[in-house]
Symmetry: none
Subunit: 495 residues, 2 copies
C-alpha cells in the first residue's frame, strides 16, 4: 500500500473543466497551486468550477479541512511550475501541443518534479518521446468532476520509472483519490475504452431510431448504472451467476457473443443530420436545466451516493472515509504554548447557500453545526485525535443551550470563539460565541453553552479521560478561569 | 402518462434468479402470484430470493406497505396461470422452450391475460410467431435484482397491440418500476447492448493482461459508474460539453471514433485458459465473500443509493418516491378532528448516513435539525404557510435548550412529538421529544425546548401574529395546558 502524502506544492497547466477540477481538489486539500492558461477567460472559468467544488465539499464532509491552498495565476508555464513537486498537464488533446508544454516545463521545473498528463487516451510513451527526463512523466487520467470522482488511472510509458508511478499514487491518494495502476499502456487506457464502446453503440441506436438520448440515459440510470456505482462488471456477474461460480456464468453468457447484438464493428458516420438529431433530443431531455444547474444536480447526487457508500463501507465510499480519517489525523494536537488567556478561535468559514431556510437566513439548526465544529476543535485541542478515538475514548454532548441573538445570510464570514467553563473528572463544559465578521467588526450572532461527558466508546458509558487529556483540559480550564463569566451562561429558556 | 395499476393477480413461470425476483416484487406489492417451475429446488431458491428482498424492503421504505400477496406453487403451467391478469415468463433463453411454454399458457389462461417475457435479447416477433393471440405478448425485460432495480424495458413484436404495451406499462408502474418503451424491436434491446459492448471489451483487456477483473471493476465503480447511477451517457456529456452545447461536444469527441480505441470489431475466443484466468481473478477479487454476502452487500448499497437519489428528487429516486406516494395515498386519510390532548407527532424519518460523525452516531447538530423540522411542523399547524411567509410574518427561534440523552445510528427510524408550553402575544414556547422507534417501542433520544418570537419579515423586528394564527396557537396552548409539564423543561446547563 502506497503512503498517501499530498504534494507540498503543485502546478496545473491548462484551466479548462479538467484543469479547473484539479485546481479545486488540490486547493481544498491545502496544496498551493500555480496555474497557467493563456486564455484570458481562464480565471473566470476556474472560479466557476471552484464555486461548484466548494458547494459540494460543504455537503461532502464534516471532517476538519486543512487551511485552503493558495491559487496563483502565473504569466507563463515557467512561473507556474516554479517550486512544484507535482505538475498536472491538462491542455488540449494534441500530441504536438502537449510535447511543447513539456519542453517549457522541463526548462523551468525542479529536476525531480513529477509531470502528470490528464490525457484521456494518448500513450505516455508518445508523450514522453522528446523529453530530457522522460522517466518522470506518467498519465494520471481523472474523471469529471475531478473534485468529486475518486478515480485516477495511472499509466506509465516505456521510459516511466517505477518510482514515478509510486510517487504519483501517493500524491493522488493524499488528495483523496483512488489511484488505479494500469499494467500496460494502451490507447484510452481502461475506463474510456468502455465509454467509447457504449458511445458507439448509442450513436447507432439514435441513428436507427431505436431510442432517443433520454431513453438511452434512462436505460442506464434506472438499471445497470445503479449497479455500477458500487460493483463493476465482473463482481455483478459473479453474483448473477450464483453459487455455480464465474466459470459457469461465462459458459452461459459466452454464446451470446456470437449473436448479432452489436453494431460496434462499424462506426456510424457523424452526418449533420445525426448530430442535429442528438442535439435536439438532448435539448428536449435536459434543456429545462442550464448547464450550471445540471452540474449542481450532478454534484449533489454524487455527494449523496458517495455518502451512501461510505455508510456501507464500500467502494468509493471507502476512499472518502480514508480521506476523512487522514483529515482528522492531520489536525495538530494542542501545543502547550498556545495563547490561553483569551477565548480560542475554533471555527471560521463562509455561510454556505445551502444553510439558508425559508426565512431567508441561516437556519436555526446550523447554529448548532457551528458550535459542534467549535466543540470538535476544542476536543482536538486537548488531545482527542483519531488515535484517541480509535483507542475508544471520546466526549459526547449531553446538553446544549443556544441563544439565537441575531440572524446572518449566505456568503457572510462567521467565526466562533470558545472557552472552558469547567474541566474536571468526566465533565467538560464549554461556552462558544458565534460572530459574523465584517467591515464594522464582529457582530454577535449566538452563544452556545454545552455540557460534555467523557465516554468509553466500547461500553458507550461514561468514563474518565486519559491522564494526558485530563491534564490538558485542566490546564485550559485553569487558564480560562480568569476570563469573565460569559453573559448568558447558566441561563434557562425564558429565564 | 400511463396510470399505475398493479395487476389483480399474476403468474410467474420459471423460478430462477429473475423469476424469483419478479415473485418478490409482486408479493411485496400485494399481488397474489401463482408459480410454476419443474425444478424440485425452485421453492428453496425462491425463498432465498425472498429473504434478500424482504431485508432490502425493510430498509428501503417507511411507507405503509399493502397486505403481502400470496405465493402459490402450482403443479403445472395451467394451474399457475389460472385467473392471472399478468403472466411473466422467465424460463431459459431458448426460443423453442419459450414457445412451448406460451402454448401451455394460452391453453389455460384468460384470453386477455398479458404475457410478458423476461428475455434479455430474443425478438418478441419470434417469441409470438406461433401464438393464437400474439397481440398480447410483449417483452418486459427486467434487471437483477428485480425487487430493487426499477428499470423494465418494454418491447413489442410485429403483432403486439398498442393496448398490450400500455397495460403492461401500467402494471409495472403499479409495482414501483420504471417502464421504458423501446420504439423498435432489436436484438438485446437497449441496455444489454451496452452491457454486451463493455463485456466484449473487458474480455480483451483481461486476455491481453491490461487489467484484472478487479481493476476493471474499479475503473468502473470509482469513476463513471458513479455518474451513471444518476445521469446516463448523453446528459453527462451534455454537462461535460459546457455552455457550448451538445453539438459542440460531439464535434470534439467525434474524431476519437476513428482512433484505435477498441477491440470490439472482433470477439475474443473463450478458450479454457481465458475462462480460467477470469475465474481465478474473480476469486482473488471477491472470493472472500460468499455469493449470499455479495447479494446482501449489493442490495444494501442499492437501497442507500436509491434513498440518496430520492432525497435529491432525481432519477431512480423519483421512481421510489412516486411508489411511496402511491402507498401513502392508499391509506385512508386522517380525520379532520385530530387529537390535541396529547403531544403531536411532528417528524418521522430514517437517520441518513450523512448525519453520522466520527463518533459513529448521529452528530449532535442533527438533533437540532430534527427539532427544527418539528418546530416547522408546529408552525404549519397554526397556519404559518407559504402565503403567510410571503405576507411578511414568521416565528424566529431565539433560544434553544437540548438534552442529548441517548445516541442513534444511521438507518434507524426516529420521530418527534411536540407540545406547546406557552402561546401568547409574540411568544411561542415549544417542547419536543425525539425518539428512536424500534421493535421494543420508542427510546427517548433527546428533548428540545425552544422559545420563538413572532417577527415582521420586512423590519426583521418582533411583531404580533395575525389574529387567525394567534387564535390557532392559543387553542393548541389551551389543549396542551392539561398535559404534564415535561421532564427537563426550564432546565439550565448543568442544572
Amino acid at each position: 500500500m502506497t503512503a498517501a502524502v499530498k504534494p507540498a506544492r503543485a502546478a496545473v497547466i491548462g484551466g479548462g473543466v479538467i484543469g479547473g477540477g484539479w485546481v479545486a481538489r488540490l486547493i481544498q486539500n491545502g496544496v498551493d497551486v500555480g496555474i497557467y492558461d493563456p486564455d484570458p477567460e481562464a480565471s473566470r472559468k476556474i472560479d466557476a468550477v471552484m464555486t461548484n467544488a466548494d458547494a459540494a465539499l460543504g455537503k461532502l464532509t464534516m471532517a476538519p479541512l486543512p487551511r485552503r491552498g493558495e491559487m496563483r495565476f502565473a504569466g507563463s508555464v515557467a512561473e507556474a511550475v516554479a517550486g512544484a513537486e507535482l505538475i498536472v498537464e491538462a491542455v488540449p488533446e494534441r500530441l504536438d501541443i502537449k510535447q511543447a508544454v513539456y519542453a517549457e516545463i522541463e526548462a523551468a521545473a525542479a529536476p525531480d518534479a513529477l509531470i502528470s498528463s490528464s490525457t484521456s487516451g494518448i500513450l505516455p510513451s508518445d508523450l514522453q518521446a522528446k523529453m530530457d527526463r522522460p522517466e518522470r512523466l506518467l498519465v494520471g487520467h481523472p474523471f469529471n468532476p475531478v473534485y468529486l470522482l475518486p478515480l485516477v488511472e495511472l499509466v506509465g510509458g516505456k521510459s516511466t520509472s517505477a518510482e514515478t508511478i509510486e510517487r504519483a499514487a501517493g500524491f493522488f491518494a493524499g488528495i483523496g483519490m483512488h489511484p488505479l495502476r494500469i499494467r500496460k499502456e494502451i490507447e484510452a487506457f481502461v475506463a474510456d475504452r468502455f465509454l467509447e464502446a457504449v458511445w458507439r453503440e448509442a450513436l447507432w441506436l439514435v441513428k436507427d431510431g431505436i431510442a432517443t438520448t433520454e431513453e438511452i440515459d434512462d436505460a442506464i440510470r434506472f438499471g445497470f448504472g445503479l449497479r455500477w456505482a458500487q460493483m463493476g462488471l465482473f463482481e455483478t456477474y459473479r453474483v448473477a451467476g450464483g453459487e455455480a461460480g464465474m466459470a459457469h456464468f461465462i459458459a452461459q453468457f459466452g454464446p451470446c457473443l456470437k449473436w448479432p447484438w452489436t453494431k460496434l464493428m462499424d462506426v456510424p458516420e457523424l452526418t449533420d443530420e445525426l448530430v442535429q438529431a442528438i442535439s435536439d433530443q438532448s435539448d428536449a431531455q435536459s434543456g429545462m436545466h442550464s448547464i450550471r444547474e445540471l452540474e449542481r444536480i450532478r454534484d449533489t447526487n454524487l455527494v449523496a451516493i458517495l455518502q451512501a457508500l461510505k455508510a456501507n463501507d464500500w467502494g468509493a465510499g471507502r476512499t472518502l472515509a480514508a480521506w476523512e480519517t487522514a483529515l482528522y489525523d492531520a489536525v495538530p494536537a494542542a501545543t502547550a504554548t498556545d495563547d490561553t488567556d483569551q477565548p480560542i478561535e475554533t471555527m471560521r468559514q463562509q455561510v454556505p447557500a445551502a444553510w439558508t431556510d425559508y426565512n431567508g437566513h441561516m437556519n436555526e439548526a446550523r447554529y448548532l453545526d457551528c458550535f459542534s465544529m467549535a466543540t470538535d476543535a476544542m476536543m482536538r485541542r486537548i488531545g482527542i485525535d483519531a488515535d484517541y478515538l480509535a483507542a475508544g475514548g471520546s466526549f459526547f454532548t449531553v446538553e446544549t443551550h443556544i441563544r439565537h441573538l441575531d440572524e446572518v445570510t449566505a456568503g457572510n464570514e462567521i467565526f466562533a470563539t470558545s472557552q472552558v467553563l469547567l474541566g474536571e473528572g468526566k465533565k467538560m463544559q464549554l461556552f462558544h460565541h458565534l460572530y459574523a465578521d465584517g467591515a464594522d467588526g464582529p457582530r454577535l450572532l449566538a452563544t452556545g453553552e454545552h455540557m460534555l461527558i467523557h465516554v468509553d466508546m466500547n461500553s458507550r458509558s461514561s468514563s474518565l479521560p486519559t491522564d494526558e487529556v485530563a491534564a490538558k483540559l485542566a490546564a485550559l480550564a485553569a487558564a480560562h478561569a480568569s476570563l469573565p463569566r460569559p453573559d448568558g451562561a447558566g441561563r434557562a429558556i425564558g429565564g
